[in-house]
């Protein structure tokens, strides 16, 4: 771990979605989408965030970019607090933080030519002339592996992988430092996935990009990421370097998750850890350790005491009483 200032520092981030009911629409309960997440992202690294559906990883990514109003906590970008800023002030930071979306079919306006869609980024954030903007867009198209004459086409004329390239072009257009990839390759075929991942890694090397790579695909995360955060029900479960998490998983949830990776080599069956029960509803949040309802190691005190976030080895953090 370097001592320099982190690019992004999140402290105790909470995001609750209120459940309103009754005639007066009073808040009767909260869905705790993100609960007390704190982490640092350093310049140039790729941080993977994994967890099953509904564990709050996407909400976390959106909150960091200011797309969700956070309930509590602080977000610092290069040392500046950006939480709760007005839209106008946040716009300055948005140049530096971009997002790549999951669904390449839904993330482009179907009635806008892709050249115009990319040009719009410069219209919003720069004062380039029209000719300069178009020149930049053509460069961008080539940069992400498309052709200049794709400029005048509509999104429906492209394949999923090509659309995702357009999404990437849009995200890197302003030379941002941080890119949140929200399930950026999950909707693609495996062969296309590999191409897109290669493109992302190339771009990272060329522009010293920092990625926050949100995914449920553990294999992709292992390949891409320097550090990995495992989330469960909106909380942090385990954080460590890729090696630490994949070779020496400590938290029972991480172990169960990793044991679920399908193995392509026949005959080398590994013991599969099967979790009992279902994911508890985030609106009916368990007391104590959120994982105690399904944990094979759960003890009496797990039901009442929230486990501490502790460092078990250099850079390897875990939230569990028992390990």
């Amino acid at each position: 771990m370097t001592d320099q200032q982190p690019l992004l520092e999140v402290k105790d981030l909470k995001k609750y979605f209120p459940i309103k009911s009754g005639v007066l629409q009073r808040t009767t309960a909260n869905v705790k989408a993100v609960e007390n997440v704190s982490l640092q992202v350093h310049e140039g690294e790729t941080l993977g965030i994994v967890g099953e559906s509904g564990c709050g990883k996407s909400t976390f990514g959106r909150s960091v970019l200011g797309l969700e109003d956070i309930t509590d906590g602080t977000i610092e970008f290069r040392g500046d607090h950006i939480e709760g800023l007005s839209k106008r002030k946040l716009k300055e930071y948005k140049k530096d933080m971009q997002m790549i979306f999951q669904d390449p079919f839904a993330s482009l306006n179907p009635r806008q030519r892709i050249g115009d869609a990319l040009e719009e980024v410069f219209v919003i954030h720069s004062s380039l002339s029209k000719a300069d903007r178009q020149k930049r867009v053509r460069e961008l198209l080539v940069e992400v592996g498309l052709q200049e004459d794709h400029y005048n086409r509509y999104p429906h004329e492209f394949s999923g992988g090509q659309r995702q390239r357009i999404g990437i072009a849009r995200a890197i257009a302003l030379n941002p430092s941080l890119i949140v990839c929200d399930e950026a390759v999950s909707a693609l075929d495996v062969s296309v996935q590999a191409q897109i991942i290669r493109l992302l890694i190339d771009l990272q090397k060329r522009y010293q990009l920092t990625y926050m790579f949100i995914s449920h695909d553990l294999g992709v995360v292992k390949h891409m990421c320097d550090r990995v955060l495992v989330m469960y029900l909106g909380t942090m479960v385990e954080l460590g370097s890729s090696d630490q998490i994949y070779k020496n998983p400590l938290h029972p949830y991480t172990r169960a998750l990793l044991s679920a990776i399908p193995r392509p080599i026949p005959g080398r069956k590994k013991e599969r850890i099967k979790l009992e029960g279902d994911l508890p509803s985030a609106s009916n949040y368990p007391t104590g350790c959120p994982f105690h309802t399904r944990c094979p190691l759960a003890q009496e005190h797990c039901k009442t005491v929230v486990p501490e976030w502790r460092e078990v080895e250099e850079g390897h953090f875990i939230a569990c009483h028992e390990v």
Partner: protein, 298 residues
């Protein structure tokens, strides 16, 4: 679809010109009824524009020696009315009035409906208030609302336009709001927000262009209704006043001569019917042609 295959075969420059509009129009042309409707509308527009060239006698010109002539008698294509005015001439000048009143009230209604619908659909806080206003307008039966407005403003064709456009606002606002609500949740809107685009940019450049399909259908259908309502109001004496050659007013004038000269009411009645039929079948055809499921554009 074979035409789509042919499209994909062309090179990139001609692809550029084959916009969605052209594709929609091609699909529309496959619908025979809609083509018939388009044909009627085209004729209406032509005769309305070139009305002075198509008549031998002005619509107000009376000839008391040739009253109540039947169809085709003494060189009058559609006969004459009780003042000896040429029915053909009055009919095609009436087409002018109907089209102008219909178009302007639909445009005014659309402007109002778009503003309310987009604001209501995009801003959750305004939605409640705007939709209650719309409900209020909806609660009145349309023709009563129009009559109420005319009673306040006085009888004239301009006031008919105002009344009918106000009556068009709630329907349009609901349709636009519905589309805006669903488009707002699309990922590309989120993408624009994450790029830091302003609300005005998102609404005008991303939401509005994506709800054009239902708006076009609504506007076409509404043209027919607006023309019918204009005639209804004029028939009741609330719109165009005699001697204006408005179709509804012409039917009303012909009422007293139902037995001696039935063509005085029947001819404008048929004109109204054909016009509304045309706008409705074109609207229906457009609804099918613009159906997003027929095209892969996400």
């Amino acid at each position: 679809m074979p035409s789509n295959l042919a499209l994909n075969g062309k090179n990139a420059t001609s692809r550029k010109q084959e916009s969605n509009l052209v594709k929609t129009f091609k699909r529309l042309l496959k619908n025979k009824l809609a083509v018939f409707g388009l044909f009627i509308i085209a004729i209406l527009i032509i005769i309305a524009v070139f009305a002075p060239l198509l008549v031998s006698q002005g619509p107000f010109e009376q000839n008391l020696s040739e009253t109540e002539l039947g169809v085709g008698e003494q060189g009058h294509l559609l006969g004459t009315d009780n003042y000896g005015r040429d029915m053909w001439s009055r009919l095609i000048y009436g087409a002018r009035i109907s089209l102008v009143v219909g178009l302007s009230s639909v445009i005014l209604g659309l402007i109002g409906g778009l503003i309310l619908g987009l604001l209501g659909g995009y801003y959750k806080k305004l939605d409640g208030i705007i939709m209650r206003i719309v409900d209020l307008l909806f609660a009145f039966p349309g023709i009563l609302l129009a009559m109420l407005i005319i009673a306040m403003l006085g009888t004239s064709l301009v006031n008919v336009i105002i009344a009918i456009s106000i009556w068009s606002i709630p329907g349009c606002a609901r349709i636009v709001r519905g589309s805006a609500l669903s488009i707002k949740k699309q990922e590309y809107i989120l993408a624009m927000k994450s790029l830091g685009a302003s609300d005005a940019r998102i609404i005008l450049k991303h939401i509005l262009p994506n709800c054009t399909a239902p708006i076009i259908v609504f506007a076409t259908m509404r043209m027919g209704t607006a023309i019918l309502s204009t005639s209804a109001l004029s028939f009741l004496g609330l719109g165009a006043q005699p001697p204006t050659p408005e179709w509804g007013a012409m039917i009303a004038a012909g009422q007293d001569f139902m037995w001696s000269a039935p063509h005085m009411s029947v001819i404008p009645g048929v004109a109204i019917m054909l016009t509304i039929f045309a706008f409705n079948v074109v609207g229906d055809g457009l609804r099918d042609a613009l159906d997003p499921n027929m095209e892969l554009d996400g």
